[in-house]
Structures are given as structure tokens and as C-alpha cells.
């Protein structure tokens, strides 16, 4: 089985915040498992994410007031902490997105020229 797996990618340092914010913006309030599940779904299992590693990012973002967490019930009536993006988070997301675009643009250009 393992041999059939595609090579998984590691989350690039600093991009986790961007990913979490983007996920929350498109999906609305979501608990940590929901975020993790969504990421795996989108990446087609490309993303190697120990779900526990989401927490530092969530704590950091919450301390920066970019997201806000609150305890709610899931549809199956379990309690979970739901995170929602705040106004400051949206602003930060826009900024991070812009920075990411510029970064990738630059790397793309570099790769094109080198090859």
C-alpha cells in the first residue's frame, strides 16, 4: 500500500495561517477537524497534515484576533470549538494572499528562466 501513495507535500512554513484563514473565509465557521478534513479533501490527500499541528496556528491566529473561537454543538450534537474569521482576519487574509501571489510569481519566473 505505502508504495502506491503519491509523495505528500509538507506545509510550507508560514503558509498554514493563510490556508486556515482562506478555509474559514470560504466555508464559514468551522471546527479544527472540519478544517483539517477540508484541507485533505481539497489537496486530494496531497497534504501531509498531522491534525494536531493545526493547533499552534489556531492559537496564534486567535491571539492575533484574526479568528475567534467559541464552543458550539455539531450536527451530531457533539461539542466542538468553532472558529470564525474576524474582520482583522479578512484584512490579514487579503494581505497574505497578495504576498503569496507575489512570492509564487517570483518563484515561477525564476523557475521558468532557469529551465
Amino acid at each position: 500500500m505505502p508504495s502506491e501513495e503519491k509523495p505528500r507535500i509538507q506545509v510550507l512554513q508560514g503558509t498554514l495561517d493563510l490556508i486556515v484563514l482562506r478555509t474559514l473565509e470560504t466555508m464559514g465557521p468551522q471546527h479544527a477537524y472540519g478544517i483539517a478534513a477540508r484541507l485533505e479533501q481539497i489537496s486530494g490527500d496531497l497534504l501531509n497534515l498531522n491534525q494536531g499541528t493545526l493547533y499552534p496556528a489556531l492559537v496564534r491566529l486567535e491571539q492575533q484576533a484574526r479568528i475567534k473561537g467559541s464552543w458550539k454543538k455539531t450536527e451530531s450534537n457533539r461539542e466542538a470549538r468553532y472558529y470564525a474569521i474576524t474582520r482583522a482576519g479578512q484584512k490579514a487574509l487579503a494581505e497574505e494572499t497578495r504576498r503569496w501571489r507575489r512570492m509564487t510569481e517570483f518563484v515561477d519566473k525564476l523557475l521558468v528562466e532557469e529551465s
Partner: protein, 881 residues
């Protein structure tokens, strides 16, 4: 920034974040499980799979913790808890260290409380820098006291001042249900409360209308404290008539609790308008009654120098507008900064306070050295522990930090004790300072700055005392440390001796300072005043009644009647009048210029004048060198007579017999000298003997006088009787003040008493700390050398030799400390010169006392542990590892 605070909150309340985390991880795992089961897994399989998907639970938690808090801060707290546990295990060490610190920091906090309260705090008004204090300079005298007409003229200078107030404080009695309660009472002008932006807690405050017409508004305002203390905070006090020294005043309001007034260090209980002054013995319209102090607010935009210049420019006009019969005509008015409040203490206390601050800094240094020594000794004992820690992989930096944190824990615990100690000490100091002072009581309370100061002192102490020992410990060689026990490196031993040397040196300085102040105080107490104040009451009697209605009179019958009846009282040995009374701080003075037989002139400036009745000289046991005393015959109708003191005689009539000579006196054109009296103090205790001439009390224009009453027994009973006599025989007069002359003298010594007490306290403290250091060093040395001593004794060393082995060490240190400390003390003593009375700054008595005390103390401190060494049993010592 926000994140910083969030982390800080988590640091303070770790429990909550931890519970939240627990809950979230559990919920997360169950969500995965649920999902997996929905996809058809068995519950058990789902549980294992969920863990796998999640990753390491504990690892995740750790990551979470790192993200939410400061790792290093958590480590610090962890180290602090560790340090507390470690300290708990050595109570002896902690007790000595804490006591050193509590005293070292405590005396600093106490003195800083005074420095802060007296020298640093500003008036709680907007723009305090605009507040100035007005004085009048006449020749070399600068006076802060004013008469009311001068105040009125100064308050009408809108080009200089935007606002002017005057006030006059005094001790009085609040009579409640016939019982007198001593209070501090202040007469104030109408703008007084407005000047400070004061608000009433109840009713209203005194305003301009209350102060306009003399005697028209017998009203008063109570302080919040007096309202609470004497009236139980009952609002019904409004409108009630209360008696202040028998004068009825109606209460119109209570000042807010935070109201202080012109002086931050004084508290008053009752205020009344200055228009009521006539009822309290001060005559408002009289140009010769100096009773008011003035504060003013500079007009906006006028700097101090400009105000000074403008005031100098109008001084002449102001002086000319005042009643012409004034004694001190021609003064130049001046202003000086009063942003810290009216200055009646500040400038006199400034030098002593700085000196005390210096002394307590030395005490703290001694305490620091003590702590450093204790820490070094402790670190020596823990070498093995450090070696183990280091070989187990703790970084040297972390070890250093752990030890420093331990010192900080000690310092802060000591600091907390110090704050309590400082509060108590401050109360004692104020009690000492205020005892015997009847007019002014100093009021200072600790505030936030004192707290901050103490905190800073703790940090400095911990760093100063803890850095070197911690650094030394962190350098422990792990391999050597594991092998040996509590061995002491030669360098560390040297440092420990150096620290003791520093302690002894500082103790010498402190002790010498203490000896100087103590010697000075004892000199002041035995100073020959020129009269005998033993069991003498000084009773000031003044005219009562509205201002101006009673002019100065010569030989009023009522006072003669009072004197006659007081002399008949069984408890009275002798009694006589004078005006003013000696040591009351009041004075009259004049300049004398007389033609010289050789054709020129002889001058005597600032000759003091005193009116004395017949029998005054013997009553005060003063020396009559030549001639005669005044008699009953020297009355209003008789030719003017005078007695001069020896100093004046030698100034104006050197080498001649002054008896029979004539000169112009106070209010009398021609006086004939009938006697020569011995020199004496006039105004206060410290002054050099001044030139004085005495005129007959019965020939002088007076409004009252000071009755000196020498009692046979208890003065209190006599005082009551005298008050009764005045009430019945002289209804137009009242006793404005009655006190023993010893108290009068002592109030001139308040500062000296305080300095002597404090310097002795600090000297003792510094010495005890140094002795504890010596004791510790020798004690440690004995323990360390147990085996060596065992060997020495077993090969025949006598007990005396062993004793000497250790005594020599401590004696060398003490001698070294003296050699260093004495020159330092002698240099520093120069700064005390101004405060000493008839004591040389190289006082041999002080030097001897210092050296003997320290040597004796050092011997005692080192004998105890050294004797232990002589009792060592060689057999057991050799077995001892």
C-alpha cells in the same frame, strides 16, 4: 502586542488554557472517530485510527502550549517554584538572609518615604510650577511671616499674581462637652480653598464674603478627618456651633478627604476665616503683627525671574502704603518656587534627609554583602548538586538563571517584609520628630512611589548580591564537583573575606556618623542657656477681644494682679513676666549706634530686646554680674532703666563700667543702665550668645507677656491654676499658649533627636549585619577545617592555639576594615559639619567609641564559633569525611 498580552494572561492563568486544550483535543478526536465510523469502521478501529490521524496527542499539546505562552517565562516560574522548595529546606539560611534584606531594604523604604513625602511630591493642583511662596527681605533677614495689610497689598498685584492666599496655623483646643481636644487650627483668607480647587464633602467652604468684615462671620470648616474623629461623620454637624479655644464658631462645611492645603506634610483639623483673627490673639489690621504666610499663583506666562523683578519694582510702593508705625519698614518682597507646597520644613530637612538616604544606602550595601556571602557559602555546600545538574545536561545559563531566580525570590520576600517594617518605622520617626513640637506636626505617608522604590531596591539587591555567586556556581567543574564535597576554591574564599572587609568598612562609617550625631545631641541637651529651665512653665498671656479696640498699654493692672496671685500659689516657687519669652522663637531687635569717648562711634547691630519684670532674673536663675535688678519702683512714672548683658557691654563699652551709661531704647528715648546680666540664649538653643538689653516690663508698651513660672512640683497642676487665675483676674486676657520650657527647648532639637536616633539605628544595623557576616565566615571556616583541627589537636595543639587560629582571621579583617573605614568616615563627616553642634568632624571620642565597639563586637561574633573549634574531638574529626 495583543498576542503578547494574550500570552501573559495564559501565563498567569495556565489552568484555564490547559483545560480548554484538553477539551478541544478530546472533541477533535471524537469528531474523527465519528467520521470514520460513519464510513463503516468499528468503534475500536476508529479510535486507533483517529489517534493516528491526529498525530501525537502529547506532542500536539506541547506545541499548543509553546504557541500560547512564553516558554522562558514558564520556565522562570517553574524555577521560582523550584527555588521556593529549595529555600524551604534551609530555614536557617532563609531566616538570616530575609532579616538582612528586610532591615536593609526596610530602612531604605522608610527614609525614602520621608524623602518622597517631603522633598519630591508636588502640590496636587494644576500647573504646580506657577505656585510661589512670598517672603520679605530686610537687610540680611528674610522673613516668611507677614502682617495682614502687607498681604492685602500683595494680593492686589494682578500684573504679577493671578491669585494670592494667606494662612496662619496654630495649635488649639476643640472643646466638646467641656473636654478640650488638641487640634491643629488654621486661619485662612477667603480665596484659600479656591486656590487649591478644593471641594466640600459636606456643606460649603470658606469664601471671600466670610473673610471680608472683621469678626462678622464666626464660621469654620472641618477637615474630613476631624469630622470623622470628633463628630463620628454625622452630617448634623452642619450649622452646629463648636468652640475652638473658647471661641464659638459655626460649622459651615467639611472639606473633602483628599484636601491637604498649602503644605503637603501638615494636616489641619479646622479652618476659620482670617477675619476672625482678633478672637485668636492676632490683630488683622495691625502692621506689627507678623502672623501670616503667603502663597501666590504667578500670572500665566510670567516666569519666576520676571515676577521677581516686577515684585522688586513695586516693593517700595507697597511698603509706603502700609501703616507707618511698623517696626520692619523698607522690606523688599521676593518669591520662590513652591510647586512642592509651602516650605516650612523642606529646606531645613533637605540636607539631613539626603544624609540619611546616604546612610541607608550604606546599610543596604552591608546587607547586600551579607547576602552575597551567605549565597557564596550556600553555593559552596551545593557544589555536588550543581555538578550533578551540569553532568545531566542542564545548561550553565539555565543553572545561573535558577540561582539568580532563587536570589530574586529571597529579595522579594525580604522586600515584602521591608515594606511592613518601613511603614512601622516611618510612624516611629514621625512620632519622634513631632514629640515636643507644639506648633507643627509633620505628616508623611507612603504611596505608590515608595512601593516602586522598594521594588527597584529589591531588584538591585538581588543583582548586586546574587550575580557573582550564581556566576561562580555556573562555572562549577562538573567532574571535580562530583568527586569532592563542599570544597571552597581559593578565589571564592578571597571574595568572601573581601566582602567582610567591605562590611566592616561601611560599619565603621555608619558607627562614626552615629557617634557624631549622638555627641552633638548630648551637647545640645547640656548647653548652658544662661538660665535654668528646670520645672519652668512658659505661659503666654495675650489680650482678647476684637482687633484694634485694645491699644498697647503700659503696666496693665490686670497682669500685675495675675502675677501677684500666681506668686501666691502654693506650687509656685517664683514667677515673673517677660516679653517676648525666651526660646519661643519670637524676637525684637534693633541696631544701636553710640558716640565713642574718642570722638567716633560704636555700633552694635541686631541687638535683641526683651522686657522683663522685677524678679525675672532670679526667677530664671540668671546671673546678675553687676548693679541691680529692676524693682517695683521702675514703673511707668520712673526714669527709664535698662540691664545689658555682658556681650553688649563688651561691644559698646569695652573696658568701661556700663552702669550709669545712657542709650536710646525700645520706645523710650533715654535709658540708664542699672545692671549687667550674664549672657544667655534668646530665640533658640543653637544660636551663639547674642547681645541683649532688657527694659523694665512695667515701663514698656505691651499687649501681653510671657509669664515664667518656676514650679515646686508637678507643672501640670500649676498650669491649670494659672489658667484659672488669668480667667478670674484678667478677663480681658487669655492664655494663648502654656508649655514647659523643656518642651520649648526640645522643639528646637527635633531634627537633632531624629538624626541621633536614626544614625544610631543605622549604625547598629550596619554593625550587626557585619558581625553576622564575621560569625558566618568563621563558623563556616571552622566546619570546613574540622579535619585539620582534629589533626592539629591530636598532634598536640593547645586549645588556645586553635582559638587563636580563628580569632586571628577575624581580627585581621576587622583591623583591615577599620584602616579603610576610618579615613572614609573622616572624609564623609565633612558633609555633616553643618548639622553638628560643638562637635569636631574628627571627634576623637567618636573615633574611639567606633573602634572599641567594633572590635568588641567582632571578638564576640568570632569567639562563639571559634570556641566550637576548640571542642572538636580529634578522633571523631578524623573519621569525619
Amino acid at each position: 502586542m495583543r498576542r503578547f498580552f494574550a500570552r501573559l494572561v495564559n501565563l498567569v492563568r495556565p489552568g484555564r488554557a490547559e483545560r480548554d486544550l484538553e477539551r478541544e483535543v478530546a472533541s477533535h478526536l471524537s469528531l474523527i472517530e465519528e467520521d470514520l465510523m460513519r464510513r463503516g469502521m468499528t468503534p475500536e478501529a476508529a479510535r486507533t485510527a483517529s489517534r493516528r490521524t491526529y498525530g501525537g496527542v502529547e506532542q500536539a499539546k506541547e506545541l499548543h502550549r509553546d504557541a500560547r505562552s512564553f516558554v522562558w517565562m514558564e520556565q522562570v516560574l517553574q524555577d521560582a517554584r523550584h527555588a521556593c522548595r529549595g529555600l524551604w529546606k534551609s530555614p536557617g539560611f532563609v531566616a538570616v538572609a530575609m532579616l538582612s534584606l528586610a532591615f536593609g531594604i526596610g530602612v531604605n523604604a522608610a527614609i525614602f518615604t520621608l524623602v518622597n513625602g517631603i522633598l519630591l511630591k508636588k502640590l496636587p493642583v494644576p500647573e504646580p510650577e506657577r505656585v510661589v511662596q512670598v517672603s520679605a527681605k530686610l537687610k540680611e533677614f528674610e522673613s516668611n511671616g507677614f502682617n495682614y495689610p502687607a498681604y492685602r497689598a500683595l494680593s492686589r498685584q494682578p500684573a504679577i499674581f493671578s491669585d494670592t492666599i494667606a494662612f496662619s496655623g496654630r495649635r488649639s483646643n476643640l472643646e466638646l462637652d467641656g473636654e478640650p481636644h488638641p487640634i491643629d487650627f488654621e486661619l485662612v483668607t477667603g480665596g484659600f480653598f479656591r486656590f487649591f480647587g478644593a471641594r466640600p464633602a459636606l456643606g460649603r467652604l470658606i469664601d471671600d464674603e466670610d473673610d471680608r468684615a472683621e469678626g462678622a462671620h464666626p464660621v469654620c470648616v472641618l477637615s474630613y478627618n476631624a469630622w470623622q474623629t470628633h463628630f463620628g461623620g454625622n452630617p448634623a454637624v452642619l450649622g452646629r456651633s463648636i468652640r475652638i479655644g473658647s471661641i464659638p464658631l459655626q460649622v459651615i462645611g467639611v472639606a473633602a478627604p483628599e484636601f491637604v492645603g498649602p503644605e503637603l506634610q501638615r494636616r489641619f483639623d479646622v479652618w476659620a476665616p482670617s477675619a476672625m483673627a482678633g478672637s485668636f490673639g492676632s490683630q488683622r489690621e495691625n502692621g506689627n503683627t507678623i502672623w501670616l504666610h503667603i502663597l501666590a499663583r504667578l500670572r500665566t506666562g510670567i516666569p519666576m525671574a520676571e515676577a521677581q523683578a516686577r515684585l522688586a519694582g513695586v516693593s517700595r510702593a507697597i511698603e509706603d502704603s502700609l501703616p507707618p508705625d511698623r517696626a520692619n519698614h523698607g522690606a523688599v518682597y521676593r518669591v520662590r518656587d513652591a510647586s512642592k507646597g509651602y516650605d516650612s520644613w523642606r529646606s531645613t530637612l533637605q540636607d539631613p534627609l539626603y544624609i540619611l538616604m546616604g546612610a541607608v544606602t550604606l546599610v543596604l550595601l552591608v546587607a547586600c554583602a551579607n547576602l552575597a556571602n551567605l549565597l557564596l557559602a550556600r553555593a559552596g555546600e551545593r557544589r555536588q548538586e550543581f555538578a550533578i545538574k551540569l553532568s545531566l545536561g542542564i545548561s550553565r545559563w539555565r543553572l545561573l538563571r535558577q540561582l539568580l531566580i532563587e536570589t530574586f525570590v529571597l529579595a522579594f520576600a525580604g522586600g515584602a517584609a521591608a515594606l511592613a517594617l518601613a511603614a512601622a518605622l516611618t510612624r516611629v520617626l514621625l512620632a519622634i520628630f513631632n514629640s515636643g513640637s507644639q506648633y507643627q506636626s509633620l505628616h508623611v505617608a507612603p504611596d505608590r512611589s515608595v512601593f516602586l522604590f522598594t521594588f527597584a531596591a529589591c531588584v538591585c539587591t538581588a543583582l548586586l548580591a546574587g550575580l557573582y555567586p550564581a556566576w561562580q556556581a555556573a562555572r562549577t567543574d562538573a567532574a571535580a564537583g562530583l568527586k569532592g564535597g563542599a570544597l571552597q576554591g581559593p578565589r571564592r574564599a578571597l571574595v568572601r573575606r573581601g566582602l567582610i572587609l567591605v562590611q566592616v568598612t561601611l560599619a565603621v562609617v555608619l558607627l562614626f556618623g552615629a557617634s557624631l550625631f549622638t555627641h552633638s545631641l548630648s551637647n545640645l541637651k547640656v548647653v548652658n542657656l544662661g538660665y535654668d529651665i528646670d520645672r519652668v512653665l512658659s505661659v503666654a498671656i495675650a489680650q482678647r477681644g476684637p482687633v484694634g479696640s485694645t491699644p498697647q498699654v503700659i503696666a496693665p493692672h490686670a497682669l500685675a494682679e495675675v502675677l501677684a496671685r500666681v506668686r501666691q500659689l502654693p506650687g509656685v516657687e517664683a514667677a515673673a513676666f517677660s516679653e517676648p519669652g525666651p526660646l519661643t522663637g519670637q524676637m525684637m531687635s534693633t541696631d544701636l549706634t553710640l558716640p565713642d569717648p574718642s570722638g567716633g562711634t560704636r555700633r552694635a547691630d541686631n541687638v535683641h530686646v526683651m522686657f522683663i519684670g522685677p524678679g525675672y532674673l532670679p526667677a530664671m536663675r540668671m546671673v546678675l554680674v553687676r548693679g541691680r535688678d529692676f524693682t517695683a519702683a521702675d514703673g511707668p512714672a520712673a526714669p527709664g532703666v535698662a540691664i545689658v548683658n555682658q556681650r553688649l557691654a563688651s561691644l559698646l563699652w569695652p573696658g568701661q563700667d556700663p552702669i550709669g551709661k545712657h542709650f536710646p531704647g525700645w520706645g523710650i528715648k533715654d535709658l540708664e543702665i542699672v545692671g549687667v546680666a550674664g549672657d544667655s540664649n534668646y530665640k533658640n538653643v543653637r544660636e551663639a550668645k547674642v547681645s541683649i538689653f532688657y527694659q523694665s516690663f512695667d515701663q514698656s508698651k505691651i499687649r501681653g507677656g510671657v509669664l515664667a513660672v518656676r514650679c515646686r512640683g508637678a507643672a501640670a497642676a500649676v498650669e491649670r491654676q494659672v489658667r484659672e487665675v488669668v480667667k478670674t483676674s484678667a478677663p480681658d486676657y487669655q492664655v494663648s499658649n502654656a508649655t514647659s520650657m523643656e518642651l520649648l527647648r526640645d522643639q528646637w532639637l527635633a531634627q537633632d533627636r531624629l538624626l541621633a536616633f536614626l544614625s544610631t539605628l543605622f549604625g547598629t544595623l550596619g554593625t550587626v549585619l557585619a558581625l553576622v557576616g564575621i560569625y558566618g565566615l568563621i563558623s563556616y571556616s571552622v566546619t570546613r577545617r574540622t579535619r585539620e583541627i582534629g589533626i592539629r589537636i591530636s598532634i598536640g595543639a593547645q586549645r588556645g592555639n586553635v582559638l587563636w587560629l580563628f580569632l586571628r582571621e577575624s581580627l585581621l579583617l576587622i583591623a583591615g576594615g577599620m584602616l579603610l573605614g576610618l579615613p572614609l568616615a573622616l572624609v564623609l563627616a565633612r558633609f555633616l559639619k553643618k548639622m553638628l553642634f560643638q562637635v569636631s568632624v574628627a571627634d576623637p571620642l567618636g573615633i574611639a567609641a567606633t573602634l572599641i565597639l567594633l572590635a568588641a563586637g567582632g571578638l564576640i561574633a568570632s569567639c562563639a564559633p571559634a570556641r566550637r573549634a576548640t571542642k572538636i574531638d580529634p578522633v571523631r574529626a578524623l573519621r569525619y569525611d
